[in-house]
Amino acid sequence: MDQWSLTGLGMGTVFIALIGLALVVSLFPVFFRKPEKKRVDPAPLPELNSRSAPAVSSAVGPELVAVIAAAVAASSGMAPGSFCIASVAPAQSGGGFNTPVWGHVDRLSRPANHR
């Protein structure tokens, strides 16, 4: 490929890519309308002794399984219902514990140290 074709290809690709991105990004306001008022506090830590904060919706459990099952089914041509895991019972209590493990170890262990 000579220098001119390469230039054409290069600038062509750059423009196609960035115009494509521009088009997609310009649709963002349609899909993600309301800007949130403030950034969500990273990993809000529930009060250890409180009973509040059932932040995780009760439907959270089966999502992962459902998605991967659907993906495998779609890919392998299995009937989607032929392999079934339905037993991740939506815990009524739940608990909003889903925060990064190491961060927590850290925070948890400190009070233990200072007792």
Partner: protein
């Protein structure tokens, strides 16, 4: 020129994307969603899912090895730290520097519960051998029940590296789901009275005890099970840095810069093993299912041993702390606390549950050592 443009077009990913890869891109977006918006262990799931995404972009070559003079792809090099078993122990160094073994030292009985919960490794292991997995694959699946990411990745990278993707995803996802998976099992196996047991305060542990503990664990476990030395040794060295009071610089770096750098490298390169060919097959579903079963059986066996200790001690041990033995530090301990407080709101069980919780980390590293020394 048109033909070169044509050949260029044929070399784009759009022209080479398989259906499987498209599906995997979707799966990684869902995992990113779960990690970011549902906060499923985001520190690991975000890099893992992003690694999955990258590896399923066709022709990028980022996981290819070097060919002749041509260097390999970025992720190929990052993956070497997984393949050679370097990242998981060094991540354990940081985990050790973050872990307080005080509650365990205060209450050594905890260690029994941390042992019992390791049935959550071996029960699914046996089942997996019966549904068609070979021993090495079954061991890698069973280790999901250890509820310990670095241990699971260390063992799987040695025994069955082609299963790294689904096993790491299952391990971290279920760790995030511990507050949903465990409570029903815990309630089903215990009575209201058992769940309400108040275990009182825990004794204060001196600095000397905290310093001696990691050294002793390394020597005893290392002598009993040489294959566990990389994991246990690194965990305990990190903990020693934490407890000496004169190595705070090292402890600080182990639990920040070092663990974070390696977590990024580990996550991306583990995720990159989940290419469409490898990931999209019924085995993956079986792994996901067995992984759930692993967490459930570990929880159950922990609680059952807790009940045994309840009886033996005449009601002094709350069996709910048994479920914390699966590790998943510190979530499993918090679940014990929450379930207990449902019955007895003033009961502060957390510190008692932290004992089995950290014991579970040691327990599953030992289990991994046994599997590695026999099958590795």
């Amino acid at each position: 020129m048109w033909e070169s443009i044509n050949s260029f077009l044929l070399s784009t990913g759009f022209m080479n994307l398989t259906g499987g890869q498209l599906l995997m891109l979707a799966v990684s977006c869902v995992l990113l969603y779960l990690g970011i918006f549902r906060k499923y262990e985001p520190l690991l799931l975000v890099p893992i899912a992003f690694g999955m995404l990258l590896t399923n972009l066709p022709l990028s070559g980022i996981t290819d090895g070097p060919i002749g003079n041509q260097p390999g792809g970025l992720v190929y090099y990052l993956y070497q730290g997984v393949k050679l078993g370097i990242y998981p122990p060094l991540i354990f160094l940081g985990v050790g520097a973050m872990t307080d073994f005080g509650p365990l030292i205060a209450n050594p009985k905890s260690l029994l519960l941390g042992a019992a919960a390791q049935f959550g490794i071996f029960i699914p292991f046996v089942i997996a051998t019966y549904i068609g997995f070979d021993l090495r694959a079954a061991a890698s699946i069973g280790i999901i029940g250890g509820a310990d990411g670095p241990t699971a990745i260390f063992l799987t990278s040695r025994l069955k590296p082609e299963l790294l993707g689904p096993i790491a995803i299952a391990a971290y996802s279920y760790m995030a789901l511990v507050p949903i998976i465990q409570p029903p099992i815990m309630r089903a196996l215990t009575t209201k009275k058992e769940r309400a047991v108040d275990m009182g305060g825990i004794r204060q542990v001196s600095k000397t005890e905290k310093v001696v503990f990691p050294i002793l664990v390394t020597i005893l476990c290392g002598l009993l099970l040489p294959a566990a030395v990389p994991l246990i040794g690194a965990l305990m060295l990190g903990n020693l840095f934490r407890e000496t009071g004169v190595t705070d610089r090292l402890s600080d770096t182990a639990q920040h810069a070092l663990i974070n750098i390696l977590t990024i490298f580990l996550g991306v390169s583990v995720g990159s093993t989940a290419s469409a060919e490898r990931f999209l097959n019924p085995e993956t579903l079986k792994i996901i299912a067995l992984g759930l079963f692993a967490f459930a059986s570990g929880t159950a066996m922990g609680v059952i041993f807790g009940k045994i200790m309840y009886w033996v001690t005449g009601g002094k041990v709350n069996p709910l702390i048994g479920s914390a033995g699966v590790s998943a530090v510190p979530m499993a301990a918090r679940v014990s606390q929450v379930v207990c407080q449902k019955e007895n709101p003033g009961n502060y069980l957390l510190m008692h549950a932290m004992g089995p919780n950290v014991a579970g980390v040691i327990g599953s590293a030992i289990a991994a050592g046994v599997l590695l020394s026999v099958l590795g």
